[in-house]
Amino acid sequence: MDESKSFDVNFFKPSTPFLRENIRAIVIGLVIWGVATYGFQILLKIMETPTSEAIYLSFQQAAPKLADGSASPEEKVTAANFYLSMLGKSTALLKNEALKDAFTSTVYNLLSDAEKKTLLAVAQTAATGEKVDVDFINTALGITDNKAMMAAVPYSLSAITPDKMAMTNDSLTPLMDKFFIHNQSVLTDTIVFGFPFHYLYTALILLTLFVVICLVYCQVIDRMMKRYGMESSYE
């Protein structure tokens, strides 16, 4: 019975000095690996605060006034810019008619009577996919130096009629929360080599660490093997 017991292998009950040392090296390696990979993500999760983008906060302040019609021209510009920056986030959002309606209504409310007519005509044309001149909208929104925003304008207009226009739409709120609230912390806001730190860590530092763990482990085990005379039959 004793004879057969000596051939038992158990990671948690190493029976020989070599195994004890080998397993200790493995455990140290695994702990570093586990903490570096999962520990960091957990830390990121613990430290995060849901943070709204600045433009979303401004919009939320203006929203009640937009709804009851008491909004100032500046607040309307803010709202239109907010809708536009949401539409510009993805091609999927550019297909959201409710969002496009809200944007078009807000722009409509900003413009002079002459421009309002142009807008309606332009929106009709844009809906058919033809190219349109939207410089007057860019000027009204004050985005003439922001090429990303300007690029989104022709695709953000909807062919809504004036009687249906509304500058806010409560059904859009969950979507806004989804796109404008981000999990941020000091780890994501610190910039290192141009990267947000957490991105640099996960995409570059962590992979480098994996290589280092392997390198050190190989060195340690090679030396251990020599000391215990293991693997000599392969030499």
């Binding site: 986030k89 999990n183 991105y199 693997e231």
Partner: protein, 561 residues
């Protein structure tokens, strides 16, 4: 001998003709991103495939002995490159950038999972597997758990894993053929798959080739050059593009203006998109749990993939097994450090709505195009993607078909089969597998990286637990092994049934619950621990492992004397 050469040459002629015939049929003019025939990329692709075949011809292995000798003559660095080239597939080359392009930080769980798994492999298994001294993963499990049934079951699972893995590859091949030849996706899969099958049959006849090092060098060069060009052209730190693209990420987050334009004349700028970099952003639809589960499932999957584990049996010494993992990981990281460069540039260059919806899986190539990289280099990049998929597919087809002809046909169906019969079975299995994979690839079930992730989850909850306990716990016995595999396979079945039913809009009870917690990309996060527990529980309550196996494990693998 001559017959083989004749066959090989006729196949070679067959698919070169196919390439040439494709020219006028699909030719179209235009400067759009796709939909047109691209001459230079087509020529470069043909040249790469021919090169691999020529190198294969010149280094024909005459038999198993030659195969091992080849292993001995290759340095650790060289076998590291071989591991890397064996590993890098369309999922690494195209899929990773695609998933980061669409899902931002969530995509990094794939990058981390597919590299971190190698630590697990090295620390817990590599040299132990080599010291155990079997030839394939199936053999190891059959011998360690002294069960023919388990050997068969593992062989079937290994074939299934290869199958899922290949569906992803064929998807990638299809997309690249679509891009190069400008035809629709279905035809691309058929033609690309046909060429790949022909390539496998030709290179299979050539025996095991030594050209994996050449393949690695071509792949990594094709992948790295465009990143230098992009960072240089757009005035980021170009000496190390892997560091230089950091400012691109910040520019996307803040919506900063840049003075540059993409090849279609749109400004290189996005509206502020923190969702591209912020962790588990709600806009990406992926949460913290999914990040952790995906990362973990991919890691254990890496340490359980049969074709990865098999690599360690062919190195001469256990210390070579360890060092080649380390070098392999380094060479793999060269590509993984770089893949996010493409997703970041892709995001900022394709932001204009006029660009429209791009197929995420081809974003690597589109990014190079949108960045006005020289068409020759873009062609080389696309050819690199196809060769990455080709080398992986041919390896998997050979492994899968030999598992079928050896472990299933020869050992079970027809033990009296002659060598010729076995080879014929292997060929038939190769063709049958390739056709099956093509059919499934045409369904376009998911992104390339996700399809491959499924293969990892299967490996992670079936093969990984058997290896882990088989090596580190001698008490683990046949009944335990069967229990472990049953648990793993059942979870696989549940995840797959729900996934496929979901794809075809069949409502099953609890679909939302299963879709979230047992998603096919990462269900191994729970299936693997449960399989291990099942193994432990059943082993404890059944007879002890036979002494000879414990003795072999203790003295050969762990040096107990």
């Amino acid at each position: 001998m001559n017959r083989i050469k004749y066959k090989a040459l006729s196949l070679l002629v067959f698919f070169s003709t196919m390439l040439i015939l494709a020219v006028p049929v699909f030719a179209a003019s235009g400067t759009t991103l796709e939909g047109s025939f691209k001459t230079m990329p087509a020529i470069i692709l043909g040249a790469c495939i021919l090169l691999f075949l020529v190198v294969g011809f010149m280094n024909k292995a005459e038999g198993t002995a030659d195969f091992y000798a080849a292993g001995r003559s290759i340095s650790r660095v060289g076998s590291g490159m071989a591991i890397a080239s064996n590993w890098m597939s369309a999922a690494s080359f195209l899929g990773m950038a695609a998933i980061m392009y669409g899902s931002g930080y969530h995509g990094l769980s794939y990058v981390v999972g597919w590299t971190g798994g190698y630590c697990l492999l090295l620390l817990l298994m590599a040299s132990q597997i080599r010291r155990f001294g079997k030839y394939t993963a199936t053999d190891f499990i059959g011998d360690r758990y002294y069960s023919g049934g388990l050997r068969l079951f593992t062989a079937i699972i290994a074939i299934f894993i290869s199958f899922c893995y290949m569906v992803g590859q064929f998807g990638g091949i299809g997309l690249m053929f679509k891009w190069i030849f400008g035809m629709n996706y279905t035809y691309s899969v058929i033609i690309g798959g046909g060429v790949c099958l022909a390539y496998t049959l030709v290179s299979g006849m050539l025996g095991v080739t030594k050209n994996q090092i050449a393949q690695y060098i071509i792949l990594i060069t094709a992948f790295l050059i465009p990143t230098f060009v992009l960072t240089f052209k757009f005035d980021y730190f170009w000496l190390i593009p892997e560091l230089g693209y950091g400012r691109v990420v910040s520019d996307i987050v803040a919506g900063n203006a840049t003075p540059f334009m993409n090849s279609l004349g749109h400004a290189m700028q996005t509206v502020p998109q923190p969702e591209f970099a912020m962790p588990w952003d709600t806009a990406t639809g992926k949460d913290f749990f999914q990040w952790m589960a995906t990362c973990f499932a991919l890691m254990i999957g890496t340490a359980g993939l049969p074709h990865v584990l098999q690599k360690f049996y062919v190195v001469p010494k256990p210390s070579d097994a360890r060092w080649s993992v380390t070098w392999g990981l380094f060479f793999i990281c060269l590509l993984y450090w770089t893949a996010p460069v493409y997703s970041a540039f892709g995001r900022i260059l394709s932001s204009n709505p006029e660009v429209g919806n791009l197929a995420a899986d081809a974003i690597v190539v589109y990014t190079a195009q949108l960045g006005s990289v020289n068409p020759l280099i873009v062609g080389f990049l696309a050819a690199g993607a196809v060769s990455a998929a080709f080398s992986t597919v041919s390896g998997l087809l050979v492994a899968g078909s030999s598992a079928f002809s050896n472990d299933i046909y020869f050992k079970l169906i027809n033990p009296e089969a002659t060598g010729d019969q076995q080879i014929r079975m292997a060929r038939i299995a190769t063709i049958a597998m390739a056709l099956g994979v093509m059919l499934v690839a045409m369904l376009k079930l998911a992104l390339v990286a996700q399809l491959v992730a499924l293969a990892f989850s299967i490996a992670g909850c079936t093969i990984f637990p058997l290896f882990l306990l088989g090596i580190w716990w001698s008490r683990s016995n046949r009944s335990g092994g069967i229990a472990s595999l049953t648990v793993g396979a059942s979870f696989t079945a549940i995840a797959l049934v729900y996934f496929i039913c979901g794809k075809f809009s069949v409502a099953l009870p609890g679909a939302a619950f299963v879709g979230y917690w047992l998603n096919p990309w990462y269900y191994a996060w729970i299936a693997a621990p449960l399989a291990i527990l099942a193994n432990i529980f059943v082993s404890m309550n059944t007879e002890d492992t036979p002494e000879e196996i414990r003795k072999h494990l203790a003295s050969e693998v762990h040096g107990v004397r």
